[in-house]
Amino acid sequence: MAQMKFMCDAERCIECNGCVTACKNANEVEWGIQRRRVVTLDDGEPTEVSISVACMHCDDAPCMAVCPTDCFYKTDDGIVLHDKDLCIGCGYCLYACPFGAPQFPQQNAFGERGKMDKCTFCAGGPAETREEEYQKYGANRISEGKLPLCAEMCSTKALLAGDAQTVADIFRQRVVQRGHPDGAWSGNPRADADNLAYDATHQG
């Protein structure tokens, strides 16, 4: 079985927010919720870099580990989904999530959180009918053999979605081609010294 993963190539991300818009449009998420966000570090500096972030569908998902209702589950494709009928809006998944993926519609009394909403890797969620599924969780493109719309529509192909191995291969090939000294964008001095990507280009 495939292990679905997102990967954002920060070298290519141009902060156009197309993924954000594509996601909102594909899933028709409710007002105030934005499943994907684009984060820019060092904005306006020479080192400025942007990256698109949403649920990363972790292998050892912290949200699953702390949920008091146990409403999360992992599909065979490694996609982390949740059951909104079980969600009580306690916010624990948000406390634990490394990526700030879970969001809550704050529309009830005293700021009480509504049912959590997050990226589903365009894989919908548990529901009786397709209409109910779309209304609660948004599109189920995976069931139609399609990948998440955010990645499919990314104009620079910075955002990749798909089987972890395939995504990793594409990214590795890119790094080899462009010969970035540290392989990605961490600025790790040790990676610079090893310069693995540089050697790789010479090996052809």
Binding site: E15, D42, D43, V49, I88, Y95, G100, F110, R113
Partner: protein
């Protein structure tokens, strides 16, 4: 001329093909020989360690942008994993040990030592101990405490027990009701507990004889005679636990209950840990309080139930208080006849502690 006239399209195609071939011949090797150092020099500079420190700190710097509206979240939630480990590895198992251990200790104590009986027959003369207003607040607070403890325990442990036991449909309603009850009754409990603490504060100032009381273990075991005023050492400890830990639990509960005041994710992580540790601890101690107040010692429950205690009970447990108020004892018959309003507004002689 003839040829070019006859086949203009062919010439153009040939020329185009030549250009493409030449172009490929030139560009292909150029691509293959791209200088990695130059590529790297024009690539993203690499975010500085300073920026990574900023990311890990949880705070967002002035050059941080997030396309999400009103987002205060940094790129990575560095403290999330700490919170997860604290909650799942420490709070959860040790809470169970504290409460389960307390139940075992109480059960063993009851089996081995048994109920603390009155040392002499009842005299039939009653002393007012808890006025109606105190009893009303106490039982409201007690009921709310039990509801909050059960719903809180359900939020922490329920998924291991009730979901597999009852299935999703029942579990969904159960856990949802738990959360709503916990969130809405919590503030009510908080306010009433503070009222109750303020009302009984005068009985709970520490006194010298309390030290002696602790040295003798409160006289719970054996026939040791220990001095105690209106409240004994144990009751004072329970009071001050509620007045300190209880207030912390209430305050952290408010932080968690009202996420609409802009408190950050990190604040709520800590509020959650503090709330859980405090509440689990208080629940464990409360089991002791409930035991002593009900089956643990003869004649205690009637004080909080009717407001009056027997003279013998007062002499056994609160001898200093008894000495002060013994002349105000009322015969049982007069109470039953309604001679005295059920628990006047003020208990007698609040001087003693």
């Amino acid at each position: 001329m003839f040829v070019s006239h006859a086949w203009p399209g062919l010439w153009r195609m040939a020329a185009l093909a030549l250009v493409l071939l030449v172009g490929l011949g030139v560009t292909q090797p150029a691509l293959a020989q791209a200088d990695p150092d130059r590529e790297a020099a024009t690539a993203v500079g690499g975010v500085s360690p300073e920026t990574w420190r900023q990311v890990r700190s949880g705070e967002t710097g002035p050059n941080f942008r997030d396309s999400r509206a009103e987002s205060t979240y940094n790129l990575v939630n560095a403290s999330g994993e700490t919170w997860r480990q604290l909650r799942n590895r420490w709070v959860s198992p040790f809470g169970l040990i504290a409460i389960g251990g307390m139940l075992v200790v109480i059960a063993l104590f009851y089996v081995i030592v048994g109920r603390k009986d009155l040392s002499a027959p009842r005299t039939g003369r009653k002393l007012l101990r808890w006025p109606l207003v105190v009893r009303a607040i106490h039982w409201t607070v007690a009921t709310l405490f039990i509801v909050l403890a059960l719903t809180g325990l359900n939020l922490l442990y329920g998924k291991f027990v009730f979901r597999p036991l009852f299935g999703d449909a029942v579990w969904a309603g159960m856990i949802s009701a738990s959360k709503v009850a916990h969130n809405y009754l919590g503030p009510l409990f908080g306010i009433l507990l503070i009222v109750l603490l303020a009302r009984v504060l005068k009985h709970n100032w520490p006194k010298k004889h309390d030290l002696e009381w602790f040295k003798k273990g409160g006289g719970m075991v054996g026939k040791a005679h220990v001095d105690a005023g209106f409240a004994n050492g144990g009751e004072k400890v329970w009071f001050w636990l509620l007045a300190t830990v209880g207030i912390v639990v209430i305050a952290s509960g408010f932080v968690l209950d009202f996420p609409n005041y802009g408190q950050g994710r990190d604040t709520m992580q800590w509020a959650n840990i503090i709330h859980a540790v405090g509440a689990l601890g208080l629940t464990a101690v409360a089991l002791g309080h409930i035991y002593i107040g009900t089956i643990g010692s003869e004649g205690s429950l009637e004080g909080m139930a009717t407001g009056y205690v027997d003279e013998t009970w007062a002499r056994d447990h609160h001898n200093l208080w008894y000495e002060e108020v013994k002349d105000q004892a009322i015969p049982e018959e007069r109470l039953a006849a309604g001679g005295q309003p059920s628990g006047g507004s003020e208990e007698p002689t609040p001087r003693s502690g």
